[in-house]
């Protein structure tokens, strides 16, 4: 099967800044892809392009459709949760369900009600009365009841407490995600999606600076805990990054043979956070 999303040379410029500087990437079906980057790197612009919410230069195909000209058809197969939960404050929970049921051909009302029954949300409640966490629960219930092929999440757990955050991804994995579906997520809470992702993209200053499957990242990058006496030997292998912990040095290597690194010390898989920090060095400088 061909790629679900295929972008070539996407460009987007706002008045004084370049948001997307000719990015190209592919997303295959059945994957959970994390798009990670500092504030202002172009994440949200990239998602907006995919959703047909902004115009841009370059080639973009989402489910074989052009989001600029075929947005109606695209929206039948794509769901979206934004970082700003944009439900009108006067809307009742029941109205929201009625509305989506009325406009979306692939919405399963019974399924939505089943999800809502597991929360404290009541049909009569107005969005105004809901906490941020409850609004996200409502949003999630609406979205998970839509049989879409692509789900786009823009900072979905921003501002939620730990309980809601855990529940959010747990629900997605338990009741929504399967091999036919694809999720594209941006988040700053990298730790909470670390093991959920199948693929990782780093974006910086409108460019993709890393694009690989998590398996490939595990093979390509390695973190090695090195004693002081071997630090020079480690530096000779040109590490991406070095930091000190308890008199030992932790080196991050890119593409150095693991057998060669084993002689230096204990090898670990780098956390996404550490990979991110090393890759983004100098971003705000």
């Amino acid at each position: 099967m061909s790629a679900l999303i295929e972008a070539r040379g996407l460009r987007k410029r706002y008045r004084n800044t370049v948001a997307l500087d000719g990015i190209s990437f592919k997303v295959e079906p059945g994957r959970i892809v994390g798009l990670i980057g500092p504030n202002g790197a172009g994440k949200t612009t990239a998602l907006k392009a995919v959703l047909g919410l902004t115009d841009f230069d370059g080639d973009l195909s989402v489910l074989g459709l052009d989001p600029r000209t075929q947005r109606d058809r695209l929206m039948q197969q794509v769901s979206f949760i934004a970082d700003v939960a944009v439900l009108p404050r006067w809307l009742r929970v029941g109205d929201a369900v009625d509305f989506v049921g009325g406009v979306h051909p692939r919405f399963n009302r019974a399924r939505c009600e089943q999800f809502l029954a597991r929360t404290k949300l009541q049909s009569r409640m107005k969005v105004r009365e809901l906490s941020k966490g409850m609004i996200v629960q409502l949003h999630l219930a609406l979205v998970m009841a839509i049989d879409a092929r692509l789900l786009v999440l823009d900072e979905p757990t921003l501002g939620l407490d730990i309980l809601y955050r855990k529940q959010f991804y747990q629900s997605l994995l338990e009741d929504y995600f399967d091999a036919e579906k694809t999720i594209l997520v941006t988040t700053h809470q990298v730790e909470e999606v670390e093991h959920i992702l199948t693929d990782l993209m780093f974006i910086r200053d409108g460019r993709i600076v890393l694009d690989a499957s998590m398996d490939a990242i595990g093979e390509r990058y390695a973190e090695v805990l090195v004693n002081a006496d071997r630090a020079e030997a480690a530096r000779a292998l040109k590490p991406l990054d070095e930091r000190q912990v308890f008199g030992k040095s932790i080196f991050l290597f890119d593409g150095v043979d693991h057998a060669q690194l084993e002689a230096l010390g204990e090898i670990r898989r780098p956390a996404i956070v550490d990979l991110f920090v090393a890759t983004m060095k100098g971003t705000y400088a």
Binding site: I32, K166, Y169, Q170, S171, L173, E174, F177, D178, E192, H195, I196, L197, T198, M214, G218, E223, E266, I267, R268, R269, A271
Partner: protein, 124 residues
């Protein structure tokens, strides 16, 4: 559920070890179903592919089998096979350094045997 994974071993290997431990200590009996891939993925907040990979290893080792449309089941004889390989592994990998340590400390096997009998006695 929050699980701390060890960064030096791939998660699918650690998951496999967990299932093996469950079979060894009887939490999973022969003929029991393994929890579904979806359930494990949701509980541990890990990708379903990671879970599938761990289960596939167990299938390759003939410890569990896939029953079409039903899921994964612990095969008959899995526990015995695991015990056998665990015993072999202990004798091969853990016993030699342990034995060397006992010798260094001057603990001879007769003393250990006597202590073992005492333990058996008190646990009865």
């Amino acid at each position: 559920m929050t699980v701390t994974w060890n960064d030096s071993v791939p998660i699918y290997r650690q998951l496999r070890e967990r299932v093996v431990a469950m079979i060894l200590d009887g939490a999973l009996q022969e003929g029991d179903p393994l929890p579904s891939v979806r359930q494990v993925a949701a509980d541990f907040q890990i990708n379903p592919l990671t879970v599938s990979k761990a289960y596939q290893e167990l299938v390759d080792e003939h410890l569990v089998e896939k029953r079409r449309g039903l899921g994964m089941y612990v095969v008959d004889g899995a526990r015995e096979a695991l015990l056998k390989s665990e015993r072999e592994r202990f004798l091969r990998e853990e016993w030699p350094p342990l034995f060397a340590r006992l010798k260094r400390m001057g603990l001879d096997l007769k003393i250990l045997l006597r202590e073992a009998e005492k333990l058996e006695e008190s646990s009865r």
